[in-house]
């Protein structure tokens, strides 16, 4: 039986839909269960928070996972990145409040404060630009931090841009484009080769039909 990690949040529904389109019989209602099996017992699904997924994959708790490219890059996880699943399109961007004097990161003064969930990517981005900033690690509601004066800017995921607009934030630079990816654990890809390759093929066929 293949063990697959599916992320909570925005990637959850499209991931389940993809599995159903692949022919797996996933129950439509499983309440608050975090561990479910398809009715043919071919798959065991583990539902985890996106940022916990690298651990589940790298430690071999699951064989395969659906995971955002943003999380892969932020955590530098080691795995096989096999397929771009196409859904969950978003970008990791720098945004500032409408009242801010900054309209590009090159305008930033030294030691400005940036709030983000993506500390590593943020750090890397500013180091490459040669700009010294303080990164504040935030767990959620990142948009709030420049509005209430905690930070001068934020680095966060943007999909439609509506949340930024609603909070009077302006996107000034994109760091990374992200979609959902199918990833496989290093050792499992060898030890369960046949099973995993069959699964990849099924997913590929569904994607080829869509795109």
């Amino acid at each position: 039986m293949l063990k697959i990690a599916v992320p909570k949040g925005v990637l959850f529904d499209p991931s389940l839909k993809l599995l159903k389109n692949c022919g797996y019989k996933i129950p439509s209602d499983f309440g608050r269960k975090l561990l479910i099996e398809d009715s043919n017992q071919q798959l065991s699904l583990i539902i985890v928070r996106p940022f916990d997924m690298p651990l589940y994959v790298e430690e071999g708790v699951v064989d395969v996972a659906f995971i955002g490219k943003d999380v892969i890059e932020e955590t530098s996880m080691s795995c096989f990145e096999i397929l771009d699943l196409g859904y969950g399109q978003c970008r990791l961007s720098v945004a500032v409040p409408g009242f801010s004097p900054y309209r590009s990161v090159e305008d930033f003064h030294s030691f400005i404060k940036v709030g983000s969930k993506y500390q590593n990517l943020s750090k890397k981005f500013f180091i490459e630009k040669g700009i010294q900033v303080r990164i504040f690690p935030l767990g959620g509601s990142v948009e709030l931090s420049p509005i209430v004066g905690l930070s001068d800017a934020i680095i966060d995921l943007v999909s439609t841009g509506n949340t930024l607009k609603a909070n009077n934030l302006i996107e000034i630079e994109t760091i990374l484009f992200s979609t959902s990816r199918l990833v496989v654990n290093d050792a499992k890809y060898r030890l369960k080769r046949k099973e995993i390759n069959e699964f990849i093929l099924r997913v590929k066929e569904v994607l080829d039909d869509i795109y």
Binding site: E58, E59, G60, S78, C79, F80, E81, I82, L83, D84, R181, N185, D186, A187, K188, R190, L191, R193
Partner: protein, 404 residues
């Protein structure tokens, strides 16, 4: 094993015994295969060693300034240290050399700073293919010897990627392609290959991750490989056939890559159930010794022993016990105690002398706690010697004894 400090562990006697049992088995097996053990110092001179370390490894090293102002480094890679040692003392050797080591290496990562490693080195072999085959077979057999039943040995040839990436048409994509292969990022490989104008090369790069599997599966698809890479693939096939002839099941991966930069040709990795990543690997590094001024082909492999303990612990972990606990009453002259203990030890019986005078019942309880098989209790000084009891700790059967 408990984390005493981030990245290092302390071990209790049972755990040390477990580790020693595994290491002894590996050591004996490699000695039977004609390899001899070398010992490398923990401290190395940074200036001497750094010439052979790549950037990624340098970042992980633990360095400090010694009291003479020189920079020392805790040995981060035993292959490099052995290369330094052999290159410095090469005149006294008859090649090829077959060395093995069991030692700690020091690298700062998020998981550890001390890694227990073992490995072998074949230095200066004329027939390089033979050395490559011997190494691949040896790593497989070593893991079998210590108790792994299912072993996934994957072999490749680093030359394939090196030759491919040296193509002039890939000049602008060389770095990103190498990174993508290293990160096993097939999505990036696909995107980059779409930018390559030569359709044959572009298609080959797209197909390359899929060129893995059993030797038959991979070598039957040689048509997908551009002709200029055929010699490297054929060389791998030759090694694969020899490994097969040695009765070792293995798999091929034409895009196999090692993040340590000194590898030049044949490379391999091993995986076992229960571990999420490779347990060990190695290959050929023909240019490494020249960095120390000695032009000499060489190859080897390393195995992460910490990972092995994690998986095989249950098979090897045994309670520590002694054969005899020797207790004695107050007033028994000590020379009788030493003599009795010595007579047991002469028969290769493990004896512990109790350092406290205890009553018989207390001594029996203590010997049970100590997991001693027998309690020898000296209770009385006789005119010709001492007397007392030998007690089977398990069933408490006791027998009178005298010792003259």
């Amino acid at each position: 094993m408990n984390n005493s400090l981030s990245g290092s562990v302390d071990m209790l006697p049972e755990e040390v015994l477990c580790r020693n049992l595994i290491e002894e088995k590996i050591k004996r097996f490699w000695e039977r295969n004609g390899f001899v053990m070398v010992s490398i110092p923990v401290l190395e001179n940074w200036d001497k060693l750094q010439v052979a370390l790549d950037e990624k490894l340098i970042e992980k090293t633990i360095r400090f300034i010694d009291r003479f102002g020189g920079v020392s480094v805790l040995s981060p890679d035993l292959t490099v240290s052995i290369a330094r040692m052999v290159s410095a003392r090469k005149r006294n050797f008859t090649f090829p050399l077959k060395y093995f080591y069991l030692s700690d290496v020091f690298r700062v990562t998020s998981e550890h700073s001390v890694i227990r490693q073992c490995g072998v080195e074949i230095i200066g072999a004329d027939k390089q293919t033979l050395a490559d085959v011997e190494l691949a077979v040896l790593i497989f057999m070593t893991l079998k010897e210590i108790g792994f039943n299912e072993i996934y040995l994957e072999i490749g040839n680093f030359e394939i990627l090196k030759e491919l990436l040296s193509l002039n048409i890939l000049k602008n994509h060389k770095k990103s392609l190498f990174e993508a292969f290293l990160k096993k990022d097939w999505v990036a490989l696909y995107c980059i290959s779409n930018e390559i104008k030569d359709s044959k090369i572009s298609n080959f790069i797209k197909n390359l991750p899929g060129l893995s599997g059993t030797p038959d599966e991979v070598f039957s698809k040689i048509d997908l490989v551009p002709e200029f890479l055929h010699p490297s693939v054929k060389n791998l096939e030759k090694i694969s056939n020899e490994i097969k002839n040695a009765g070792v099941k293995h798999y091929i991966n034409l895009s196999l890559i090692n993040e340590i930069s000194y590898y030049t040709g044949f490379i391999f990795q091993v995986f076992v159930p229960g571990l999420p990543s490779s347990i060990g690997g190695g290959g050929r590094y023909d240019d490494l010794y020249s960095l120390f001024g000695f032009d000499c082909p060489s190859s080897g492999f390393g195995i992460d022993l910490d990972k092995i303990y994690g998986v095989l612990k249950a098979n090897y972990l045994k309670p520590i016990n002694i054969d005899v606990l020797l207790c004695f009453n107050d007033g028994i002259p000590l020379h009788w105690v030493w003599n009795l203990a010595a007579s047991y030890r002469d028969q290769c019986i493990r004896v512990e002398i109790d350092l406290k005078n205890r009553e018989f019942n207390e001594a029996l309880e203590f010997s049970k706690n100590k997991r001693a098989k027998r309690l020898v209790y000296i209770s009385k000084l006789e005119s010709s010697g001492v007397s007392g009891w030998i007690v089977d700790t398990h069933n408490e059967n006791k027998e009178r004894m005298t010792f003259c």
